[in-house]
């Protein structure tokens, strides 16, 4: 490498370093502001004074419930769709093309629009009110395309020859799915699941209009409840003096996000490749 | 077009190429006289391509590749660390097996490297492009679509464009890595005619699997072989002599079409 190339490498490296300053500053800030507040008490207790003091116990529970509802809807629907796309449809057929367009379309819908949709359908039309159920259902719609794409990729990675071998042994489609395809694709599907959960966990705008922002312990799925992300937003924007608690909550959320990312790496060994 | 200077001699002496622990070529030696075409033949995996990649130092790009020995172009060792690799590659052009024009316009395929080498004058740029296209017989076929994508050309035309791309830089040595093997017979014949027309003006080193082609084109032939999992040169010499009676019995059998 001659000298000019060496200088280019150095200049580009410097730019790369500068770009990393922002996320590093982010981690530094959230950690620095939040670590003082964070302890077991904070994780378990109820919020007090609009969240300035106390903890985030009910909020963690609400978040978990919303995620549970979201994934228990998205997983069967998404897996079914991916199976249909990979196994049941001719690749060049019109049905496949239409579905692919619809999926990409759904994946492009802004999250705030999902919020408007969920509010109208689940909160108003179905009469569920602001509730964990409405929030979970809306989130399921939102992560569906991401999860489907991940599963589709995992299923397509299964070699065609397995399928031909299965057909030559006169194994039924159901048998092939159960014994060969799904076990083979399981790590990829698990990675897709984890990444989709990560996306749902990070979402705020959708839940503002559907799950609401009540801070009490949720007693049923029809109760309103706020998630971690909503809590961070509310404390930072609407509660004066809420910053430390907000940063501590952000630290908890980042911790979850980190665990999810590491899980996805471990399971799937292919980070991000099918994120939208 | 005429090369700026007389073609140089090319001498490979005791050349070895290793990828990590794995040897690809061991102790290869051969001499190409100025303006002659040396065809390197032999089965797959016998280090032919590794030999070419050492001559224009493309081996530098392969992680873990180690090259030892000497490659002399007019008695200057190109493997010397002090050699300016970019200047070397300007003198040693290369054409690959797969026609690989860049996804740019036909003109830009040729002009891009010229501009990078400091040719700024519009008239000179155009002149050298036309010369290169004339030399490869492409000029009349593409003169009215110079600004169309190069990928719209047929396979044979694409390969001749790759020749033109290399020739425009006025190299002194040309490395040809199976230049006809991805082409249909008719395009292949055109490209062979082109290669034949280059003899005398450039020193050519051509890898080929096609013995008939080597016999038609080559002044000298070298036979490579795999021995103990590592490539080596069995025998080399003037084409007519070698095809008649190679000293090495293995090379003799290979050149007569008895493969094992």
């Amino acid at each position: 490498m001659n000298r000019r190339e060496a200088w280019r490498a150095r200049a580009l490296g410097l730019l790369a370093l500068v770009l990393m300053l922002a996320p590093l500053s982010l981690l530094w800030t959230v950690f620095g502001d939040g670590i003082g507040v964070l302890d077991w008490q904070f994780l378990l207790a109820e919020p007090e004074q609009a969240g300035r003091s106390g903890g985030i116990g009910p909020i963690i529970v609400s978040t978990a419930l919303v995620l549970l509802i979201c994934m228990s809807l998205a997983v069967p629907l998404g897996l079914g769709t991916a199976l249909f796309l990979v196994e049941q449809v001719r690749p060049e057929g019109r049905l496949n093309l239409t579905l692919q367009w619809a999926l990409d379309g759904l994946g492009a819908v802004p999250s705030v629009v999902f919020g408007l949709f969920g509010y109208r359908l689940f909160v108003v039309e179905l009469g569920w009110g602001y509730s964990l159920l409405a929030g979970g259902c809306t989130l399921a719609c939102m992560v569906l395309p991401l999860f489907i794409r991940g599963c589709e990729q995992a299923l397509r990675d299964c070699p065609q020859s397995y399928r031909q071998a299965a057909a030559s042994l006169a194994i039924s489609r159901v048998g092939y799915l159960r014994r060969i395809l799904l076990p083979f694709a399981a790590p990829g599907i698990a990675a897709a699941l984890v990444l989709s959960a990560g996306r749902a966990l990070a979402e705020t705008a959708v839940l503002l209009f559907t799950a609401g922002y009540v801070m009490r312990w949720p007693e049923s799925l029809f109760d309103s409840g706020r998630t971690l992300a909503v809590h961070i937003y509310d404390l930072a924007m609407n509660v004066s003096g809420g910053s430390p608690a907000s940063a501590a909550t952000a630290l908890v959320l980042l911790g979850f996000a980190l665990v999810i990312q590491l899980l996805a790496w471990q399971i799937g060994k292919r980070p991000l490749s099918f994120a939208r | 077009m005429t090369a700026a200077t007389q073609p140089p001699s090319l001498s490979i002496q005791n050349l070895s190429v290793h990828y990590g622990e794995q040897g690809a070529l061991l102790g290869a030696s051969l001499d190409v006289a100025p303006g002659e075409l040396m065809a390197v033949v032999g089965p797959s995996g016998c280090g032919k391509s590794s030999m070419l990649s050492a001559v224009n130092r493309m081996s530098d790009l392969i992680p873990g590749a180690r090259v030892s020995g000497r490659v002399l172009i007019d008695n200057q060792d190109v493997l010397n660390g002090a050699v300016d690799v970019q200047a070397l590659r300007r003198q040693v052009g290369m054409v690959f097996q797969q026609p690989n024009p860049f996804p740019l316009s036909i003109a830009e395929n040729i002009l891009f490297a010229l501009r990078e080498h400091g040719v700024r004058d519009k008239r000179e740029l155009h002149g050298r492009m036309e010369q290169a296209l004339q030399a490869t017989g492409l000029w009349n076929e593409v003169r009215d679509r110079l600004h169309k994508p190069a990928l719209g050309l047929s396979g044979g035309q694409q390969q001749r464009l790759c020749f033109a791309r290399a020739l425009a830089l006025e190299p002194r040595v040309l490395l040809l890595d199976e230049p006809c093997s991805a082409l249909d017979p008719i395009a292949s014949a055109t490209v062979e005619g082109l290669i034949d027309s280059l003899k005398g003006r450039y020193t050519l080193l051509m890898v080929t699997h096609n013995l008939a082609q080597a016999r038609r084109l080559a002044d000298h032939v070298a036979v490579c072989w795999v021995r103990d999992g590592c490539g080596c040169v069995l025998d080399s010499g003037p084409a007519c002599e070698l095809f008649e009676s190679a000293r090495d019995p293995q090379a003799q059998r290979y050149l007569n079409g008895m493969l094992c």
Binding site: L12, P76, A108, P110, G115, V174, A205, A236, L272 | F112
Partner: protein, 285 residues
Amino acid sequence: MSISTPLSLRSNLDWLLRAASLGCALTAAVVLLLILLFLTQASWPLLQQPASLLGASWQPANGLFGLQAMLGASLLSSLLALLLAVPAGLLVSIWLIFYAPAAVARVYGAMLGLMASIPSVVYGLWGLVVLVPLLGAWLPPGASLLAAGIVLALMILPLLMVQADVALRESARRHLPAALCLGVSPWSAIRRVLLPAAWPRLWPAILLQLGRALGETMAVLMVAGNVVQWPGSPFAPVRTLTANIALEMSYATGPHLQALYLSGWLLLVLALLLMALARLYGSRT
């Protein structure tokens, strides 16, 4: 016939599987249709009088629902984000592939993965606590179009770079050796050959990220200042369409609510158009 029973049972099961998976697959399409339907329906009364929406002033209390300024702010902040993220992202991708030591590139790649997994609300929090005061000390008030652009740029950067990485590597695999054989420097080969060759795959990625930036709500809401106005400079506070929806949804009723649905409809149409453009562009090449 003993063999006929299990055979028909099997095909019944297969048929059931097919029906069930078709049902699942249609759900995605149905949800998209429902979204289109609901948003169009909810904003229908206002959609019929488009002239009133082009106005510059947004005063829901007085029945003025001009979306012009907020649409402008949405577009400007997203374009600004692209302007910041695309050149920087491409340059750093190039560094990672062609110049950086392998170990450094691996660590950097992992950092990008983490950066992608940071929730948008946390970016917003950082913007609010660090970026806005920083900009404010330089040119008040700090909460501004520029702040929104920077935060959006950070958010789209990781995915943009993942896609640039794929496109550039593919381009290098096909063209780098041939380009270097012509005796040009790696940098010229990248600039003159690899980047032009990669553009057909980079464009769709950029369009998709533009769509993401347009639809982003929370981070922008937290740093943009939320004043409804055409920004006179990058340092002026603005309110985007998405932020407006999030801010006013909790108390809007009647025509006001319709106007919010209409802004959602507008965002939806824009996002779908961008997606369609990206797909058409991607399939053409």
